[in-house]
């Protein structure tokens, strides 16, 4: 696995560059090299720092300013303290969107994980043309969302679309996939799973590829059932990459805009409005910059806390 090479490479780097490391020259020469190295490192890092400040740092600070003012896109407005946050936190629309975001994330993460796991396990066995299937199944993730949402729209949007017509001809009525609030929510989540499962499949396949198959032979000789082999051997072996993939997918789902917006626009009657969609509409359609940014800011704070926590968890799990 790349982890091992990464760590040994890092360890070597540490030894190679550490002042006072073995095989170095006289100490004054070493410290000169070290400060020179540090200066080079600074210059190499500089473009990245500038961009980080401009694209991430500055907007974050400015968002804080906007969230505490009653301005618009043109004017900063007056300082109103936490009034915007109060507004947002007491509005039913916010909690409805938060609830949808939560469901969307849960279904998006575990739905795509289950589908990806199933397919990864299936593709791991010997199947004629297995490699071709593996590549074809990655297409939903490679094709731009703008394109796939267009196709999904064509398939389900109106009562005369292909899938509703199919239901009708089977005598199952004419489901209004994007007009019924509950069905629309299901459709958006299904679309998200469709887009995301290849990512999970790749993560799990990569983890499975590093598993030594002789472990299974030994296990089946010891009389372990298929289920025992799966739960006692396979799952623990892919646990680490599963953990990481859940974290990444959670971030992707919470921050997702196009999957939802392009399929339903957040409707019908806000049934599929997530927090990002709500923030976008509040700023760019209702022109209420303060509350819109406050929504985004609340999401940001949650994600900062969650991601620092998860980052620590990953590091801890990699030490073990």
């Amino acid at each position: 696995m790349s982890t091992t090479t990464a760590q040994s490479g890092l360890a070597r780097a540490r030894r190679g560059l550490a002042p006072g490391g073995p095989g170095g020259g006289p100490s004054n020469r070493k410290s000169k090299l070290s400060s020179q190295t540090r200066r080079t490192f600074f210059w190499l890092l500089l473009p990245s720092i500038v961009l980080l400040v401009l694209i991430h740092g500055y907007p974050l600070v400015y968002a804080g300013v906007q969230a505490t003012h009653d301005g618009s896109l043109i004017d900063t407005g007056n300082f109103v303290g936490v009034e915007n946050f109060g507004h947002v936190l007491s509005s039913p629309a916010f909690w409805k969107a938060a609830q949808f975001t939560l469901w969307f994330t849960i279904v998006g993460v575990f739905g795509s994980w289950l589908v990806g796991l199933g397919l990864a396990l299936l593709l791991r066995t010997k199947i004629p043309a297995g490699g071709t299937f593996k590549i074809l199944l990655l297409l939903p993730w490679v094709v731009p969302i703008v394109v796939s949402s267009t196709a999904w729209n064509w398939l389900v949007a109106t009562p005369d679309s292909l899938i509703p017509s199919l239901f009708r001809s089977l005598g199952l009525g004419t489901p209004l996939f994007l007009a019924d609030p509950n069905l629309a929510a299901v459709m958006v989540m299904a679309f998200k799973v469709w887009v995301s499962f290849p990512f999970m499949m790749m993560m799990i396949s990569a983890a499975l590829a590093s598993v030594d198959t002789t472990v299974y032979e030994a296990a089946s000789m010891d009389g372990a059932s298929k289920w025992q082999q799966f739960s006692q051997i396979t799952l623990p072996l892919i646990a680490r990459s599963t953990y990481i993939s859940w974290i990444l997918m959670t971030i992707f789902c919470v921050n997702d805009f196009p999957t939802i917006y392009l399929l339903t626009g957040g409707g019908p009657v806000d049934a599929t409005t997530s927090l990002v969609v709500l923030a976008y509409r509040t700023v760019f359609q209702d022109f209420q910059t303060g509350p819109g940014v406050a929504i985004a800011f609340l999401m940001t704070l949650t994600l900062v806390v969650v991601s620092v926590f998860l980052y620590r968890q990953i590091r801890k799990s990699s030490v073990e």
Binding site: S2, A6, G9, R12, A13, G16, L17, A18, F41, L44, L45, P47, S48, L51, I55, H56, P59, L60, Y62, A63, Q66, T125, K126, I127, P128, F133, K134, I135, L137, L139, V142, V143, P144, V146, V147, T150, A151, W154, L162, F199, T213, Y216, E217, S220, S245, L248, N255, P258, L262, V276, Y280, G292, V293, A296, M299, V304, V306, Y311, I314, S318
Partner: protein, 297 residues
Amino acid sequence: MSAVLHAHPASGPALGVAGPEKSRRVLSDAGLRGRWWRFVLILAITAIVLVPIMVTVVLALTPGPNSTATGLTLENLSNVFSKTLAATWLKNSLITTVSTVIVSVAVAAPAGYVLSRGRSKAVSGYSLLLFVMQSLPIITSVVPLFILFAGLGLVDNLLGLIIIYVGSTMTVATWMMAAYFDSIPVSLEEASWIDGCSVFGSFTKVVLRNSLPGILSTAIFAFLLAWNDYLVAIVFLRSNEIFTLPMGVQSFFQQNATDWSGVMALAVVMMLPPIVVFATLNKYFSVGGIGGSLAGR
């Protein structure tokens, strides 16, 4: 953003990995039947999964309602290019994406080198900062950037789009480069230092020269992000002739009756480059590495 890929070819998912069956010397009848069963199953799943993509291609090649053509035709494609600004949108998307890819790699490679070789508190703190920034919703930065860019004349401007794309690819791209550099032994550089090469010199002459796979997978990541983006484009682009392809495709839905033949033809144009890139550079695609690069620092 969905794309997180990195790997040296060796750590990619090996195709056709042998399952437990490998050990059986003779494949029994039951084993063979099981194999075909799974083949049928995976064929059915793949067919269902690919319906939306097949629909797109078929509609793009089927003559539209006002057409006299029969059978499969490229008429929709030529129509969309002659009757809409499709050629301009395609050009805008290409300019934006190619610039983003080049600048992203140029910024991420040196930063990744420092993350890989540096060992100070400041460097690991910077790495944590990148992780936090990467997980923030882009919508938070979009509003302040919109106001900033409006003052600079960068709204409705491809340059503004490129700057934001580079900013948002930068975090993950830096990790990907760092993870790749980790796999290049420092001993290679030490040899060049003894020959009197500076740290910067060994970075460009020794490390970068051996990093083509890492650079390619980073480039693919930046390409996918810039080519597929919709949120930044919808906020920052206003006029038809500045649109990138995602906005172009969406502009079909603003009309009363959607021209499905036209939109699907343009959709095919839009999905071809990612598929071609993916098909040719497939071996540099792997998501496994991101785990390593995340946990490694």
